[in-house]
């Protein structure tokens, strides 16, 4: 990864108002600044590809690796494993090897969005540890967490397809199926990212916790 002096950037400013439903994202602004100031980054998008994110990342001249972590999890583990919540270490390792087939420290940024919250906790921690391994020092990871609520109704939710509209705005589109969600409060998120150099929180109007973690 190399620094650049004058970033091209796909949409550096926003002359027109954002479309309906778009929300300002300070975490996205931070990661966009990182994109503008560096060249030829290798960026991971683990929320399932969409055209908006593809155009945004490649517009900076970076390379995008796309994977749908939640869908990949559903495809890899059997319904029996998922319902029982029992995942052997060997199975987890082979899932990670299949999903993150990269050399150590070879990636420069990662969009995880809300995917970690929709994985069983043991697997979510294993995924984060693997991300820590494949991300290069000083690289950034963007994740978001739905508000913690202990009522049983909110223990299932829809994962979102997060679309980058420009350097400041995101559009969150709920995906069709509801699924179990792991509750995280601020303290739990801090513990979750303990291996990272720094963690910044941004609380949105919808009570969504955005997190930028620096490797």
């Amino acid at each position: 990864m190399t620094s650049r002096t004058s970033p091209p950037g796909p949409k550096p400013s926003l002359p027109t108002p954002p479309p309906e439903g778009a929300r300002r994202s300070h975490a996205l602004e931070a990661i966009s600044a990182h994109f503008s100031s560096h060249e030829s980054l290798h960026v991971l998008d683990l929320g399932g590809i969409n055209q908006a994110n593809l155009d945004f990342v490649t517009g900076f001249g970076h390379r995008l690796y796309a994977e749908d972590l939640v869908r990949s999890f559903d495809g890899f583990f059997s319904p029996g494993e998922i319902s029982s919540g029992q995942f052997t270490e060997g199975r987890i390792t082979s899932f990670l090897d299949q999903t993150f087939d990269f050399p150590d420290q070879s990636c420069d940024a990662a969009f995880v969005w809300d995917a970690l919250q929709f994985l069983p906790s043991t697997l979510a921690q294993a995924v984060l540890d693997r991300l820590h391994r494949v991300l290069a020092p000083d690289s950034l990871l963007l994740a978001c967490f739905h508000p913690d609520s202990s009522t049983p109704d909110t223990l299932a939710a829809c994962p979102h397809s997060c679309r980058i509209l420009d350097t400041r705005h995101l559009l969150l589109v709920p995906r069709p199926a509801r699924r179990p969600i792991q509750p995280f409060n601020t303290r739990a998120i801090e513990r979750f990212f303990h291996g990272f150099q720094s963690v910044k929180f941004f609380l949105t109007r919808e009570n969504l916790q955005e997190v930028i973690a620096r490797r």
């Binding site: 055209q51 490649t58 796309a66």
Partner: protein, 185 residues
């Protein structure tokens, strides 16, 4: 005219020979065909070769026409100047190189298109993608690297350099140009 045989209808329409210049002025009427003409983009819309649903091929395909795959192919496809379409029942296990690639079905392998790649809704692609214009629809599954090919627009040719003025030549003064006037007092 009314009793024309069916065979006559089936005959391919031959293009009218080109008239010599100026000949049209001597004609009283220009003969015109009443039959529908081929659309101008016939060559573009016409499908080329096709691999049917029940066909399984193992091997390398190299072609100079468009190809539609509805069956199963285990091997690479190379259509450098044409379009590859993988239909909804199509499955390709191998790398693909073409001018345009449109995927409705499944590809397990890398894709490289000099122009456009379209991954349609419900398509499934696992492999790296390199194209000038990648288009991925919602609900398509894609796993791999995406890299766009940047096409630099050719810059206009530089103007030929003006001949260097000779060292001893005096620059000509324009008639309307006022001469510098120095007043001392």
């Amino acid at each position: 005219m009314w009793n024309r045989s069916k065979k006559e209808d089936d005959l391919p329409q031959k293009p009218a020979p080109a008239a010599p210049p100026g000949a049209e002025y001597g004609r009283e009427a220009i003969p015109m065909s009443a039959y529908p003409t081929r659309p101008a983009d016939f060559a573009q819309t016409r499908s080329g070769a096709a691999i049917g649903k029940s066909v399984v091929i193992t091997g390398h395909i190299l072609g100079k026409e468009d190809l539609l795959i509805d069956g199963r192919l285990e091997g690479d496809v190379d259509l450098p100047e044409h379009r590859l379409t993988v239909g909804s029942t199509g499955h390709v296990q191998g790398s693909v190189r073409a001018r345009e690639i449109v995927v409705h079905g499944t590809i397990h392998g890398n894709m490289e298109a000099s122009e456009r790649v379209e991954i349609k809704k419900n398509a499934r692609v696992i492999g790296d993608l390199k194209a000038q214009r990648p288009v991925i629809e919602d609900e398509a599954y894609f796993k791999g690297n995406v890299e766009t090919i940047r096409v630099d627009t050719p810059k206009p040719a530089a103007r030929p350099a003006a001949p260097a003025p000779q060292a001893d030549a005096q620059p000509p003064l324009l008639p309307s140009e006022p001469k510098p006037e120095i007043r001392r007092g």
